[in-house]
């Protein structure tokens, strides 16, 4: 499988008063296309920081990060925005849908940034909503949806542009068990059928059941990196 992400000796420090807080240290990781990987660990272990760096929302203090052949640290604001808009989808714990827009419009938004025609946008949005089973809710606003439905819209928004990589930060943390399983099944299906790479930051045991690779972080360092069964 093709290599998608490569992190070499990555370190991330945050200034904290007169000293620095080390969030990540000596991170060496490689991710290939089509992976369904979970980064697990307690709060503050550096899971979200890794996702932020991969997603070019943040940059490492030292080391190299290559995402789809691009050196993240060297990307300008515009170029990193372009990388995100074209190749990376995000799913958040709190869904973060834009509340004033309908389900259709929320899912359509990433496509607007790609200057796609209206017809093509319509086709892709409907397709994405079909994937998550929300074709009957296209005119609803986020406030009219349940938590599970909101997360499904967020997934549709993340996959609508057919990205190579989806980064999901605690996607099931706000959902009940049944909704969590449904969401995870859906993401697994997308991963298997489209080859989209999923990387999760989670400490939810339900997620761990579905992933095929588990990276355990502890105090900013990799404690374990193992292939697991992947439900």
């Amino acid at each position: 499988m093709n290599k998608l992400i490569e992190m070499k000796n990555v370190m991330k420090k945050y200034p904290m008063g007169k000293t620095d807080f080390v969030a990540l240290e000596n991170i060496d990781l490689k991710f290939s296309e089509g992976e369904f990987t979970g980064i697990v660990g307690p709060s503050g272990s550096g899971k979200t920081t890794i996702l932020n760096i991969i997603g070019s929302l943040d940059s490492q203090s030292s080391g190299d990060v290559l995402v789809m052949g691009k050196q993240i640290a060297k990307l300008s604001n515009t170029k990193s925005a372009r990388l995100r808009s074209q190749k990376i989808g995000f799913i958040f714990q709190t869904y973060n849908l834009l509340p004033v827009y309908t389900v259709f419009e929320n899912v359509e938004f990433p496509l607007l940034l790609l200057n796609m025609s209206k017809e093509k946008r319509k086709i892709l949005v409907n397709e994405a909503l079909k994937w998550v089973g929300l074709t009957d809710k296209i005119k609803s606003k986020p406030a009219q949806l349940s938590g599970g439905e909101c997360q499904r819209v967020a997934i549709a928004r993340a996959i609508v542009k057919e990205p190579k990589l989806v980064l999901a930060d605690e996607p099931t943390a706000n959902l009940d068990a049944e909704n969590s399983h449904n969401i995870l099944k859906m993401m697994k299906k997308i991963n298997e059928e489209t080859g989209t790479t999923f990387i999760f930051a989670t400490h939810d045991a339900k997620v761990i059941k579905y992933i095929t690779r588990k990276i355990t972080l502890l105090d900013g360092s990799i404690a374990q990196d193992e292939i697991v069964s992947g439900g």
């Binding site: 604001n77 925005a81 372009r82 995100r84 958040f92 509340p99 827009y101 938004f109 607007l112």
Partner: protein
């Protein structure tokens, strides 16, 4: 994309309706305050011009030295000749001779014995040649009872004087004073009416008679205390230009009885008062605009900061910082313009109402010595249509700009973190 953003703007009341409400309210206050200040300055100028200064005024240099005492014995001679010259050389202006005098008003009983006496401040104006002075002094409207003098020998008393001295309409009164040459003077008048100007300094003790009667009373044939000049529309620069021209011809430093023409701003306390009013209103307007600008700048800033979360999502989805920043500024400009137009319209409605009806402040003016109307009015000028744009658009856009800078300064991940909170 623009359509998408516009849709969001329309639907999100906290991004459109509330900011518009806050900015519009600020603009209403700004417009109202500005027109009110305009009205205040305009009132001072017009009221003083009507009663005290004209737009320009000609007096003798000697009279000017003691102008606060209104020394009519130092008044202008050969007034008819002067008026001819003025009317020929400044045909667009209206020239009016006036005599100000102090006298004792004696009210006799049926036997001709003194019943009441009181000091009055007299004003002799041309009541019969044309209606200019009647209109200028607004006598028709100021008339509280009776009628305006129809023939010579009739006089108007302020209502306060009439009631204090228990004078009735049609009563004979005697004015006692001294002539221009220092001898005792007496003159009988019939009270034709009473007036109330709403200007406390005038209402306290004024009497008004035709200038020919006053000339007879004070032995001031073809003379006047002052000649007032009125432009069709007051323009300060013009008053200075005319005064300069006139003084170059007729005013000599070594001749204390030569004429001197004084523009409104240069007369007595007016110079100091208007300079002080200009300065204070300038400071007021500056501070008011500054405060409004801070309020609206802050509103723009808060609106921007409140949306850092949304900015985080948009960045994550792939929108560039520059694009988000520009969209925020465009949004602020649109909101600022819409709110300013609404605020200006409402502010102008209130200002016009205030210009038309005014606010009665007579209770505050009871002991005032300055000539100032007891009804304060706003005055809408062209600037009132635009002044609201300073805090309404400029300040709120600057606020949004500052808030937007946060997008650049903050690490993207930090915005993202704020989004998650």
């Amino acid at each position: 994309m623009l359509k998408f953003l516009a849709k969001g703007l329309m639907r999100d009341r906290s991004r459109s309706f509330f900011p518009i409400l806050i900015i519009a309210a600020g603009v209403v206050l700004t417009v109202l305050f500005y027109s009110w200040i305009n009205g205040f300055i305009g009132m001072i100028i017009s009221e003083n011009a009507r009663f005290e200064t004209g737009h320009v005024k000609i007096v003798t240099r000697a009279y000017n030295e003691l102008i606060d005492q209104k020394p009519y014995d130092l008044g202008l001679m050969n007034v008819d000749k002067k008026l001819n010259y003025l009317n020929q050389n400044y045909p667009n202006m209206n020239w009016q001779p006036r005599i100000y005098f102090g006298a004792l008003l004696d009210v006799p009983d049926e036997n001709g014995e003194t019943l009441q006496q009181g000091e009055v401040m007299g004003l002799g104006v041309d009541l019969f040649s044309d209606n200019f002075e009647r209109n200028l002094l607004n006598l028709e409207n100021a008339l509280a009872s009776g009628e305006l003098p129809q023939k010579q020998g009739e006089i108007l008393l302020s209502q306060e004087v009439a009631s204090k001295l228990k004078v009735k309409l049609g009563d004979n009164v005697t004015m006692i004073g001294s002539t221009m040459f220092g001898s005792i003077a007496m003159y009988n008048f019939i009270v034709s009416g009473t007036v109330r100007f709403g200007i406390q300094a005038m209402d306290r003790g004024a009497v008004i008679a035709d200038i020919s009667d006053v000339r007879s009373f004070l032995d001031m044939k073809n003379t006047a205390s002052e000649i007032f000049g009125f432009l069709p529309n007051y323009k300060e620069e013009k008053t200075y230009a005319i005064s300069k021209e006139y003084n170059e011809k007729f005013s000599y430093e070594n001749d204390e009885f030569s004429d001197i023409m004084l523009p409104l701003r240069e007369q007595g306390q007016m110079s100091f008062m208007l300079a002080s009013v200009d300065q204070r209103t300038g400071i007021f307007i500056f501070f008011f605009l500054f405060i409004m600008s801070i309020v609206l700048w802050n509103s723009g800033l808060m609106n921007g900061i409140r949306r850092y979360g949304e900015v985080g999502v948009r960045l994550a989805i792939g929108e560039s910082k520059g694009h988000i920043y520009r969209a925020m500024i465009i949004e602020a400009i649109i909101i600022g313009i819409v709110a300013t137009i609404i605020g200006t319209a409402i502010g102008l409605v209130f200002s016009y109402l205030l210009q038309h009806y005014g606010i009665n402040i007579s209770s505050l003016m009871r002991d005032a010595n300055v000539i100032m109307s007891s009804t304060m009015r706003a005055r809408v000028t062209t600037e009132c249509y635009f002044v609201g744009f300073i805090p309404g658009v400029i300040a709120s856009v600057i606020g949004a700009c500052f808030a937007g800078i946060g997008i650049y300064r903050r690490n993207t991940a930090q915005l993202f973190k704020e989004l998650e909170q």
